[in-house]
């Protein structure tokens, strides 16, 4: 766990953030802040998850919203069927979406580059049509979720959700960071740069790609599982929202895809800006701004903010 000083600092920061989050729930009562931060944390998990496949491995997934929605609907269905408590729902969503990710991983055997990206987009729409016709979870009409009135340790339910989400976010960042620096991460980078060359050099490309897609799917499922309890009403249009997919692509692209910190920076920056713009201007405009920022960053700064900073530091050293 602690291989060098960087590791120690990282875990201290992580623990401090978690403690600070708990401290906040004991002092601030205004529910708006928790709602806003929850949205940012959810986007962070999605961005970090997308980056494991998109940034580290080089396979673009347009179907993020599908993983997110299947995670949410797994929680809805199990909550309705067995009434399981939250940790089990999250684990179940992770398992279902992890399996889905594994399936997508096998797709990479036949589909490279743009064909893979288009296939994930197609998968999202096919799954949306299935949910649209599945009456048990409300089909196209949507479904209401009941949340408990009282919870232990916290003064309101949203605070509990906030802490759950904070812990999940920190966990996914830790996994992503570990992956980035490990042997697996180097293998994934080799696949991203040249898959054929990696295969020839003895990198087990299929196994690494399967690990990468399964992890991505499981993380996105985890991000989706608490969502029904957060909004208390889920329908296919909101769960399969294209905005979820755009955000989870835009945030890593803006932050920088090659390094684990990139999607975190992108998500905090873009997510924070979105909350401010939604309150001060309008929610449609904030959607537009994300789209424009995505296009501008891809065309002008393809390495993202991390790339810009690295370039600037190199110039200063000279």
């Amino acid at each position: 766990m602690f291989r060098n000083r960087g590791d120690v600092v990282f875990w201290i920061v992580l623990g401090a953030v978690l403690l600070a989050g708990f401290g906040v729930t004991q002092t601030i009562a205004n529910e708006y802040y928790y709602t806003a931060i929850y949205a940012i944390l959810q986007a962070t998990i999605m961005a970090v998850a997308w980056n494991i496949l998109g940034g580290f491995t080089g396979y673009v997934n347009f179907g993020s919203a599908a993983f997110f929605a299947i995670g949410a609907y797994t929680a809805v269905a199990l909550d309705k069927w067995l009434g399981l408590p939250m940790p089990f729902l999250i684990a179940a969503s992770a398992a279902v979406c992890g399996l889905m990710g594994l399936g997508v991983g096998y797709l990479t055997l036949r589909l490279k580059g743009v064909y893979f990206a288009i296939a994930t987009l197609a998968m999202a729409i096919v799954l949306e049509t299935l949910i649209n016709n599945w009456d048990y979870v409300g089909a196209a009409k949507g479904v209401y979720i009941l949340t408990p009135e009282k919870v232990p340790f916290f003064s309101s339910y949203i605070q509990l959700l906030f802490m759950v989400m904070l812990a999940l976010t920190l966990g996914s960042i830790a996994i992503s960071r570990y992956l980035n620096a490990s042997r697996i991460g180097r293998g994934l980078a080799a696949i991203r740069d040249d898959e054929v060359a990696a295969e020839c050099a003895g990198v087990p490309t299929l196994r690494l790609k399967l690990i990468s897609t399964t992890l991505m799917g499981a993380m996105m499922g985890v991000a989706g599982a608490p969502y029904p309890f957060f909004v208390t009403f889920v329908d296919p249009i909101s769960a399969f929202n294209l905005f979820v997919a755009v955000n989870s692509i835009a945030m890593p692209m803006i932050g920088g895809t090659a390094h684990w910190i990139g999607p975190v920076i992108g998500a905090l920056l873009v997510g924070g800006a979105q909350e401010v713009i939604t309150v001060t201007v309008s929610s449609e405009l904030n959607v537009l701004i994300v789209g424009i920022m995505l296009v501008l960053f891809i065309t002008l700064a393809p390495q993202g903010i991390v790339g810009l900073v690295q370039k600037w530091m190199k110039r200063r050293k000279r």
């Binding site: 589909l111 743009v114 288009i118 197609a122 729409i125 949306e128 959607v287 424009i292 891809i298 065309t299």
Partner: protein
């Protein structure tokens, strides 16, 4: 039996229209290798222009579609310029370019929502409510007119590609850039022209789309699946193959919505796309 015949006829009429939506994508995605995922979004823009000029000035939607095509051509040429400068020249076109067009699609959709809202829009023309009655099957003119215009446009694009020097240069640029340069044609200008042409076809396709049914900004997403499924099934860039694939998708969709319910129809194209990509990426008519 009546339902059966009607489903086939409606499917063929619809399929020809799908071909008009996909013909531009067959050029950009099939020939130029540019994954223009924003293609259907431009179709929706075409629909909105037809709606604006139809509802304000009472112009015929087909006329608007044809008149707006040159403007679409210029926009397409400009977008190719940006794409070339940012991605193609630096050799990182496939994935960054894809995300770029994804962003463009998203921006178009949101701008339409911001300016015109999420309401369904319709056009009106004197002939749209009428039917041609053939006894056993009724042909609504709101499907027949798009069928005729779409077939004419697809045929025109096909003739242009196979008979003229510029058209053949477009087919050649995908295969061998160097050979094209030796023939005295500039590959970048040829591609810019081809991309403009592809976007110009969306103007006409959009005006047909809004004649067939009401249009709202996010409708384009459904057409991503249809258009890509048709181009891939048709064997990437072959216009006759694309037309057959379009008719096939049209008929199957029409059957599914008549016999299983319209809410299942979107899964047809995307399902076909997914299966084709996974099982036979070269399409129905491509060489494996």
């Amino acid at each position: 039996m009546d339902l059966f015949v009607n489903a086939i006829v409606a499917g063929i009429l619809l399929g020809a229209f799908y071909a008009a939506v996909s013909v531009g994508l067959a050029i950009t995605f099939g020939q130029l290798d540019i994954v223009n995922i924003a293609h259907p979004a431009f179709v929706i823009v075409g629909s909105y222009i037809a709606w604006i000029l139809n509802s304000r000035l009472g112009w015929d939607p087909v006329l608007v579609g044809i008149l707006a095509a040159p403007a679409f051509f210029l926009v397409g040429a400009l977008i190719y310029r940006i794409y070339y400068a940012a991605f193609e020249r630096t050799g990182q076109e496939s994935l960054s370019g894809l995300a770029f067009f994804f962003g463009v699609m998203f921006i178009i959709e949101v701008v339409l929502i911001l300016v015109y809202g999420v309401d369904y829009r319709l056009v009106s023309a004197s002939y749209l409510g009428k039917n041609i009655d053939l006894g056993f099957v009724g042909l609504p003119l709101r499907l027949v007119v798009p069928f005729v215009v779409a077939s004419a446009m697809t045929a025109a694009v096909w003739l242009f590609l196979s008979r003229t020097f510029t058209g053949r240069a477009i087919l050649a640029v995908a295969q061998d850039r160097l050979a094209l340069q030796l023939m005295g044609a500039d590959p970048v200008r040829i591609k810019q022209f081809a991309f403009g042409l592809a976007i110009a076809t969306t103007s006409v396709a959009g005006s047909l789309l809004i004649m067939i049914g009401p249009v709202e900004p996010s409708l384009g997403r459904v057409y991503i699946g249809r258009a890509f499924a048709i181009v891939v099934l048709g064997g990437m860039g072959s216009i006759p193959g694309m037309v057959i694939a379009a008719l096939l998708i049209g008929v199957v969709e029409s059957f599914v919505s008549s016999f299983a319910g319209p809410s299942w129809a979107p899964a047809v194209a995307f399902g076909a796309l997914l299966i084709t990509l996974a099982v036979r990426p070269s399409g129905l008519f491509g060489r494996a």
